[in-house]
């Protein structure tokens, strides 16, 4: 922890001992509670084996929300078109498998990520010149164009009905996906999520991630400190798109089908809501939001299949009114108010 001492003044305590510096130095270290979501996920596997189908959907949703968080939560790219990449990934896996070209799951996922990343790069280069409502509309329209393209190419994509009963090879040639019991799918999805999560976590705590935060907080200032803002945004958008593509590929594999819904506004809007609900720009918002939203939707719909939207709508309105920055934001505010004693400064 020694520093090249500044020549100007003999330091009594080095600058790095300052609490503010200590916060920054230690921020990327793993905390004990960060294991909790993963323990919970493992726990679910053993405690509720009957819910693994829903659990797998949840894991995919978390991954998708995490991908969006990188672009929206960290870099402040407000998009309602992220399903463009989810769909690209899903159709990459789907087309390869359905037409018998390639069924090996892990390499298919990589291809899904690459395909979505390319789409992200190309669209990002064009779209990220704009901001605000304009960017939002451009992302929606790009997504809609891809959806229409997939619909028009129905001889290959199956159009609205999609591609059914995809043959997915066993993972490592050993672990087969059973349609009825999602044990393999669940574990597979969990491991993919973990790997992607570690990547995102590394990125956001890197100087690159810090500069994305800077772009989100004040774009003009980032230009004024000499940051190549456009390039950073495009890189971030591309990575985010690739991760969304992996999420889409994973969805296609675990469900063994793909259809136009992977491209639709509903999916893009849902992932946005999930992220805002959980709390954007804070890694675990994707987890909290996905669990809260999807679980509520799932179980409310079982109890009250004709009007579950009422409960969901109330939840969203209440969180928006009373919590800034989602459930995690609410938790943080409560913690600050009642729980955490502020460290002396």
């Amino acid at each position: 922890m020694n520093v090249a001492a500044s020549p100007a003044r003999p330091a009594v305590a080095t600058p790095l001992d300052h609490p503010a510096a200590r916060v920054l130095i230690g921020r990327h270290r793993l905390r004990w509670w960060e294991t909790l979501p993963w323990l919970a996920a493992v726990g679910l596997y053993f405690a509720f084996p009957a819910y693994l189908g829903f659990g797998t959907e949840l894991l995919v949703a978390i991954l998708f929300a995490l991908a969006l968080d990188l672009a929206l939560g960290y870099a402040g790219i407000i998009t309602l078109g992220h399903a463009a990449f989810f769909g690209t990934g899903a159709y990459t896996v789907g087309l390869l498998a359905f037409w018998g070209i390639w069924t090996e799951p892990i390499s298919s996922l990589v291809l899904a990520g690459v395909a979505a990343g390319v789409v992200g790069l190309l669209s990002g280069l064009v779209l990220l010149r704009t901001r605000g409502l304009t960017l939002l509309m451009l992302t929606i329209c790009t997504m809609a164009l891809l959806e229409q393209a997939a619909n028009m190419a129905h001889d290959y994509t199956g159009g609205f009905d999609g591609l059914p009963s995809l043959p997915i090879a066993p993972v490592f040639g050993v672990f087969e996906f059973s349609p009825l019991y999602d044990n393999t799918q669940y574990v597979y999805a969990l491991i993919v999520l973990l790997i992607c999560f570690l990547l995102v976590r590394t990125l956001v705590y890197s100087p690159f991630g810090q500069s994305l935060t800077g772009i989100r907080e004040n774009l003009l200032r980032m230009h004024a400190v000499g940051s190549p803002v456009r390039r950073r945004l495009v890189i971030c958008y591309t990575i985010s798109a690739a991760l969304a593509g992996i999420a889409g590929g994973l969805w296609a594999q675990t469900n063994a089908y793909v259809n136009l819904s992977t491209f639709d506004l509903d999916r893009a809007a849902t992932v946005l809501i999930v992220l805002i609900l959980g709390g954007y720009g804070r890694l675990y918002g994707a987890f909290v939001g996905a669990v809260a939203y999807l679980a509520l939707e799932h179980f409310l719909a079982r109890i009250y299949p004709t009007a579950w939207q009422l409960g969901l709508g109330l939840l969203l309105v209440l969180i928006a009114l009373f919590a800034r920055n989602g459930i995690l934001g609410l938790g943080e505010a409560l913690w600050r108010r009642y729980g955490g004693k502020r460290a002396a400064s």
Partner: protein, 262 residues
């Protein structure tokens, strides 16, 4: 470096930043017209003028936010007119804004770290924790100490009083280690009780930096500047030492007369 040298009062100085016939139109409006301007190394130069005189437009032309309709911008003798804003920053032109442009949700230290990381070229690295770049953190912390902001280093910028926020604005610019520093009304909006902290900080700026300050507050101008340029209606109206400017009856008529009591 083919630096330009010239004689000013018997001392050899070096021109850091220069404009030649710099103009900018907004539609039919000529906001800046044919400005020839020189900023010397180590200068403490003030740019004054009534509202709408084109001062901020001029600064935006210098930093590359706006592209000129005509004319050139030279840095150390090198033509940088075509360079983008970010490139000019790398070449050593930093600025502050009239209205704070800070990373409001981040801590004071992080605000400075972002600038420093960008300058030292750390900011592009993606797979290495920012927390391990202790050189960046130490330099930023040190800078805060010199500005006497260390006690606020942990606070979110949005929680600070306005005067301190202006200081963070300054810290970010200094963190870029500029050769030319453009200060757009650094004391604007700061309550008079706090304005001394800004002035103190300005006086402690490293001597070699060429500083151009846009300021309305004449106390600040006369205390800080060694040279003053008066801009009116997009053109240079007068230039000289503070004493000369104060004594210039035409300047008094168009400008000081209306704002001179401050």
């Amino acid at each position: 470096m083919a630096a330009l040298r010239r004689q000013t009062g018997g001392v050899v100085t070096e021109t850091r930043l220069e404009t030649q016939a710099l103009s900018r139109d907004f539609g039919a409006l000529r906001a800046v017209q044919k400005i020839d301007f020189k900023l010397d190394a180590g200068a403490r130069h003030a740019l004054i003028g009534p509202n709408g005189a084109g001062k901020t437009t001029f600064v935006n032309l210098l930093t590359g936010v706006l592209t000129p309709t005509q004319g050139r911008v030279l840095l150390g003798g090198r033509d940088i007119t075509a360079k983008a804003q970010a490139e000019r920053v790398k070449l050593g032109i930093a600025r502050t804004f009239q209205i704070n442009r800070l990373f409001r949700g981040l801590s004071v230290l992080e605000n400075v770290c972002i600038a420093v990381a960008e300058r030292v070229g750390a900011a592009a690295s993606m797979f290495y924790p920012a927390g391990r770049r202790t050189d960046v953190i130490a330099e930023s912390m040190h800078l805060l100490e010199t500005l006497r902001l260390e006690d606020q280093a942990r606070h979110r910028v949005s929680e600070l009083p306005y005067g301190r926020q202006r200081l963070v604005e300054l810290a970010i610019a200094i963190g870029l280690k500029p050769g030319v520093l453009l200060l757009d009304e650094p004391a604007a909006g700061v309550p008079s009780a706090e304005s001394h902290i800004i002035l103190d900080a300005l006086e402690r700026l490293p001597e070699h930096i060429a500083v151009l300050i846009i300021e309305h507050d004449m106390d600040v101008v006369f205390r800080f500047a060694r040279r003053v340029t008066v801009m009116v209606s997009g053109a240079i109206f007068a230039e000289g030492t503070p004493k000369e400017i104060e004594a210039n009856p035409e300047v008094r008529a168009v400008y000081l007369g209306q704002a001179g009591h401050g």
